[in-house]
Symmetry: C2
């Protein structure tokens, strides 16, 4: 029987799930709307049945090694989701227990950035690395810090909130209620805000002047940059400055071998990597200069979330044995 891991990525809108083998091959995958379920019990039952159907359809004998789940506000230690603002289920949700009852297999739960970090370590470009940082630049900014080969979960299971490191004292208002968080500059909406500031500060022509700010995406800004739009170039430069300088500070704490960038904003490639790297290097303490790789995640975008979640299963098994 082939050992397989079930990977489940819970987003506010959709849940992606899949069956993954130890080598990181996604044997089957699917997705389901998260929002349609008013009760978490219904949700877990529907997802579990869908996963069981996927397994049955595989046409081979498999052994479920465990279930890995990436979810917002997920606590590795308790197996619970705690007060996730983007989910319909309020309060503290014992998600690991609910899935464990369905599968009689060990469930490992953590946030999506931590799952991506473990995915990169198991299947991606961080193979063999003991010290690295995964930064996810999407709707928010998440992070997973790997030290001595293990994730930093911290005392309470909530470590790794790089998105809420203060980058600019008294800066942009964040959804967390504080000001100047990295997230308000380096997440998708932060990049869009910077474009709006740049558009307001000049009268240069730009294709982005003809897109409603609420409709503007990192992809539009990437395309403008590719087409030579100086406003897009300046917006990426400023985003890279904020991000790079904030990364220089955390390099001083954990001294990683590499930093991986993942998510929508990271898909802008060199436009975001180059300035981030340049500002980070300029700001690093001497002993860290020219030592830290800054590279895009090597997990395939469409399957990355499932791969990350499934990797939690192998990581747990291999730590224990």
């Amino acid at each position: 029987m082939t050992p397989i891991a079930i990977g489940i990525d819970i987003g506010g809108t959709n849940t992606k799930y899949g069956i993954v083998d130890r080598e990181g091959n996604v044997l089957a995958k699917h997705s389901i709307s998260t929002r349609q379920f008013e009760s978490v019990e219904e949700y877990v039952l529907s997802v579990s049945n869908a996963v069981k159907a996927l397994i049955a359809d595989l046409g081979q004998e498999v052994e479920v090694s465990g279930i890995g789940i990436g979810a917002p506000n997920a606590n590795y230690f308790t197996g619970k989701i705690e007060y996730a603002p983007n989910l319909r289920w309020k309060g503290i949700i014992p998600l690991a227990d609910l899935f464990e009852a369905q599968f009689k297999a060990k469930v490992t739960l953590t946030n999506d950035a931590n799952a991506a970090a473990i995915g990169e370590m198991m299947y991606g470009a961080a193979k063999g690395m003991k010290n690295f940082i995964m930064i996810t630049l999407g709707t928010g900014v998440g992070s997973g810090f790997v030290v001595n080969g293990d994730l930093i979960y911290g005392h309470d299971g909530f470590a790794g909130e790089f998105g809420h490191v203060c980058a600019v004292r008294g800066g942009r208002l964040c959804t967390c209620g504080r000001r100047g968080c990295v997230e308000t500059y380096a997440a998708a909406r932060g990049l869009v805000l910077t474009v709006q500031e740049e558009l307001a500060a000049s009268d240069g022509a730009s294709p982005m002047r003809h897109i409603l700010p609420e409709n503007l995406t990192p992809k539009d800004i990437f395309e403008a940059a590719e087409a030579g739009d100086p406003i897009a170039h300046r917006a990426f430069d400023y985003t890279g400055k904020i991000l790079g300088e904030a990364l220089a500070n955390v390099v001083a704490i954990t001294s990683p071998q590499a930093i991986f960038l993942f998510g929508g904003v990271a898909r802008a490639g060199k436009w975001i990597l180059e300035p981030t790297k340049r500002y980070m290097e300029a700001d690093l303490l001497g002993i860290f200069k020219n030592k830290v790789e800054l590279i895009p995640s090597k997990l395939p975008g469409s399957e990355a979330a499932i791969l990350g979640a499934s990797a939690l299963v192998w990581k747990e098994k291999e730590n224990i044995s």
Copy 2:
């Protein structure tokens, strides 16, 4: 035979060394001038002979379990001191090898803040803690980050440079050549600079007006604060603001159970603890509020450096077995 550890704390001016048992009793200790030795070989020979004499004078049979050394710019992985600006011996010094040749026992080398962190974990208030931060506020600002029960050494052995996290963009010039490092505000000289700024900004009476800035110490500022000097109070408040806000950022990364303050500036007690705690709490992300203890180190000041260095020995032995 009683197992003992040799603890050696190498400072730019003096080297403290002692014999410590597993319970943290300092059986014997002494110190020697570091600066008098032009060659590191002479230095190691003199310290080793002095330590051997201390052991002989103990009047009991002991077994040397190992040698722990806290030193500036010390690399745990290589056992070398690398380009320490405050030592006479330049370049890369293979200190662990040199001492190993003298004692035929395992030598563990790291910086003084990491040694203090392990000391706190072995003998002090961090017993049983798996996630905490040690901050040393002395001539410089050092730090040791413990995560999952182990120090973060990072990819290259130089992790934990909290003193060189940028706290104020474009702020005070640091000895590292960069600007705004935590150290330029929260080390002894930083506190003195803040007092000078406060003295310049008001014409209020203060006993500190009659002390040459080069002679002003954290102890003088503490005494002024105790005597009710508002300039000293404001200086501690500002120092606490810079330190507390910088700590809020690293709490978001490692989510520690506690943060320990150690060293000359920390000896100002409530005058530094209270504002640091207040500004840190005000700036913490919601999920971390009212969770992180901020407390003085419980290692006895006069023996702390030797205890920290010696604790490295037990930590190594207990990790291996």
